[in-house]
């Protein structure tokens, strides 16, 4: 069944300051939506609020995935309901190996007694790592510890591939990647495209969208989606920057919640 994801009137605060001021967005399985916008306009906040980062307080709105409001759920329940966020800054956790971590994540989706067998798991993980051109030693490395920026991003994509989510949010997955790594990551994402799965790609560079072609493009400013369109919108933003959007909408300062 194709995923159906509807965000309505989402408002969120960080430390009492409102960052998201009413986000509305609808997406279905098979679609790729890009959210673009300059720094400080609330893009990453949207990703974190949807996942349930403890620092963000959702004050209004709903985010309904296949009939269930994710915002009513704990972080782990959201993940098990099918949401996946590839993070901009993944945590490093010493002592927990990449494979132990991912096996726990997979088993959290399975009933007790029906855990994935170790051999099957390792085989799957090795195959996916090969696709991402990751050194097999990353299986036994501690989670993200000592990984380079690019290695962390690949590891995020690896997790996405292993967990088979319904809705994937990629939060600035392109930051810190050189062009070769970017291509590998994009290939990984494209390999996961399916009529069931939806993607929300957050970026402020059009570059990524050359490799992951969006169906819809949204521009975020001041904590809202201020403009939506097709792939041509991303191209125009790349060619002309964001100034014309600001002029068209009469926006002077596009940021939100920044210290003055």
């Amino acid at each position: 069944m194709a995923a159906d994801f509807v965000i309505e009137g989402l408002k969120a605060n960080i430390e009492g300051k409102e960052i998201l001021k009413g986000i509305n967005l609808q997406m279905k399985g098979g679609e790729i939506h890009a959210i673009m916008g300059p720094n400080g306009t609330g893009k990453s906040t949207l990703a974190s609020a949807l996942m349930g980062h403890p620092k963000y307080e959702v004050t209004e709105g709903t985010a309904v995935l296949d009939g269930e409001d994710l915002l009513e759920m704990a972080v782990d329940e959201r993940a098990r309901a099918g949401l996946f966020l590839a993070m901009q800054y993944p945590s490093e956790i010493a002592g927990v190996t990449n494979s132990d971590f991912l096996r726990s994540a997979i088993n959290s989706r399975r009933e007790e007694g029906k855990e994935i067998s170790l051999i099957r798991f390792i085989r799957q993980m090795e195959a996916k790592m090969k696709e991402l051109e990751m050194n097999p030693e990353f299986l036994h490395r501690y989670l993200n510890e000592g990984f380079s920026g690019g290695e962390k991003k690949r590891n995020e994509i690896l997790q996405m591939m292993m967990l088979d989510p319904k809705i994937v949010i990629l939060d600035e997955i392109d930051s810190g990647l050189d062009i070769d790594a970017l291509k590998i990551v994009a290939e990984g994402v494209n390999a996961m495209r399916s009529p069931e799965r939806g993607f929300l790609v957050i970026t402020h560079y059009q570059r990524l969208l050359n490799y992951i072609k969006p169906d819809y493009v949204h521009v975020m400013m001041q904590g809202r989606i201020v403009k939506s369109g097709g792939p041509e919108l991303a191209e125009r933003l790349e060619a002309e920057g964001y100034e014309w959007v600001k002029e068209e909408l009469g926006i002077e300062d596009e940021t939100v919640g920044q210290e003055v």
Binding site: P54, D76, S91, A94, G95
Partner: protein
């Protein structure tokens, strides 16, 4: 101010005990001198710990133990530890005395001695006398003095020159009678170029308050290698005070693996004296504190020899209202050129009432050395929990992964698989999972 040491036994009774045990005269004298010292000495001074408020006087009195005729007669409290040990080298101490001793015949044939210390004092008097109380001195404080006066049972392990032993020798020490004194002394002597692994477990099974006053002395000869692993899992009512010390000659190696899994108040001090040139020490301590335990763990390395590396790692998890003071002392003496002393103490606290205090201390009297320390005290990082949960892992499992992950880098380095698994199980039990 001086506090009067309460002597659990008088000189007359101590003499009687020594005589009735058939101990040699030098040992009786050694006990009596230590008892006299105990009366004059004060309790040890422990960093930020009021050991004077602990239950350190419940010695009980010597009670003769009944020998086991077969291993399957051993108390059930230690059954799991001695499973399948019929053919191994094993000593069991039950309260005040050793009740079972077995040395694998192939080791005996190579001249290895493995027996209780009281027997060794009779049968190998010269050897025992040369080493006994030479690393932990009775004059250090009243607890060491009382130990030297009262020790019972115990283990003597002697490995002759050039003998290399692959299988670990083991001891299990059980206290289940609060009225019986439990003061085992472990003495290990590894002669030149020998190699040995010794593993012991301290277990209690009783409800009344008791005390373990233990001392461990390890003498590592030139080029010898001793791996000493010890797991303390004494119950809530047993106070544990243990001094461990190794003296290492030229090119010798001591490796300590210490699992502090007690449920009662614990003070332990594990020290390597790197006497010879090229001698080295590696100490790993894993600790879990729970309930209202008061804990004071010290690891020390003292460098006299040149080219002497030492490494000390302590990782402790504190839950509920456990209170721990963790000290690491690296002392490099003048003349110990090219010594390298490293230490790390890390504490993870799982509750707002838990306390952990890490004190790294470097005392260096020589210029041509390298030394380093790292210490950290912290709580489970909420960002890490969020990250794990964002992949579908429950909060409980996420925290569990992080806690085990905190200990894993040290546990995974333990070279004995059985011990590694045992520690893992004890950690799980102490963490209530």
């Amino acid at each position: 101010m001086t506090t009067q040491t309460i002597l659990p036994v008088d000189a007359e009774r101590l003499s009687e005990l020594s005589l009735s045990g058939g101990e040699p005269g030098w040992l009786k004298d050694s006990r009596l001198q230590a008892l006299a010292l105990a009366a004059e000495l004060e309790l040890p001074k422990l960093e930020k710990t009021r050991i004077d408020r602990w239950n350190v006087n419940n010695y009980g009195s010597y009670k003769a133990a009944k020998l086991l005729t077969a291993l399957n007669e051993a108390p059930s409290a230690i059954a799991a530890l001695i499973k399948d040990q019929e053919d191994g080298s094993l000593i069991i101490q039950h309260n005040s005395g050793v009740v079972y001793t077995r040395l694998a015949p192939e080791l005996a044939a190579q001249g290895v001695i493995f027996t209780d210390l009281q027997t060794a004092a009779k049968e190998h008097g010269d050897l025992v006398q040369r080493y006994l109380h030479k690393a932990v001195l009775p004059g250090e404080h009243s607890i060491a003095a009382l130990h030297a006066a009262l020790w019972n049972g115990g283990v003597f392990l002697y490995v002759p020159k050039n003998v290399v032993i692959d299988t670990p020798l083991q001891a299990v020490l059980l206290t289940d009678d609060a009225e019986a004194s439990f003061v085992p002394h472990i003495l290990v002597v590894a002669d030149t170029n020998s190699s040995v692994t010794y593993v012991d477990n301290y277990v209690s099974d009783k409800a009344e308050a008791g005390l373990h006053n233990g001392a461990v002395e390890v003498f590592v000869g030139a080029g010898a290698k001793v791996r000493y692993a010890t797991v303390h899992q004494l119950g809530e009512d047993t106070t544990d005070v243990t001094y461990r010390r190794a003296v290492v000659e030229n090119d010798g190696t001591i490796e300590w693996i210490v699992g502090e899994m007690n449920y009662g108040d614990t003070a332990s001090d594990t020290k390597s004296v790197l006497k010879g040139n090229g001698s080295s020490s590696d100490a790993k301590v894993i600790a879990v504190g729970s309930g209202s335990q008061k804990l004071n763990y010290t690891t020390q390395a003292q460098h006299f020899g040149k080219n002497t590396p030492s490494d000390m790692i302590t990782r402790a998890v504190m839950r509920e209202s456990a209170n721990s003071i963790i000290n690491g002392i690296t002392k490099i003496e003048k003349g110990a050129t090219r010594a390298d002393g490293q230490q790390t103490e890390k504490v993870l606290m799982l509750s707002p009432k838990a306390r952990g205090d890490a004190n790294p201390i470097l005392l260096i009297d020589e210029d041509d050395v390298t030394a380093g320390h790292a210490a950290s005290v912290g709580q489970v990082n909420p960002e890490q929990v969020y990250y794990l949960m964002s992949r579908g892992i429950t909060r409980h499992d996420a925290e569990k992964l992080i806690i085990y992950g905190f200990l894993a880098p040290v546990v995974s380095q333990i070279p004995l698989e059985g011990l590694r698994n045992q520690l893992q199980t004890l950690v799980e039990r102490k963490l209530g999972q």
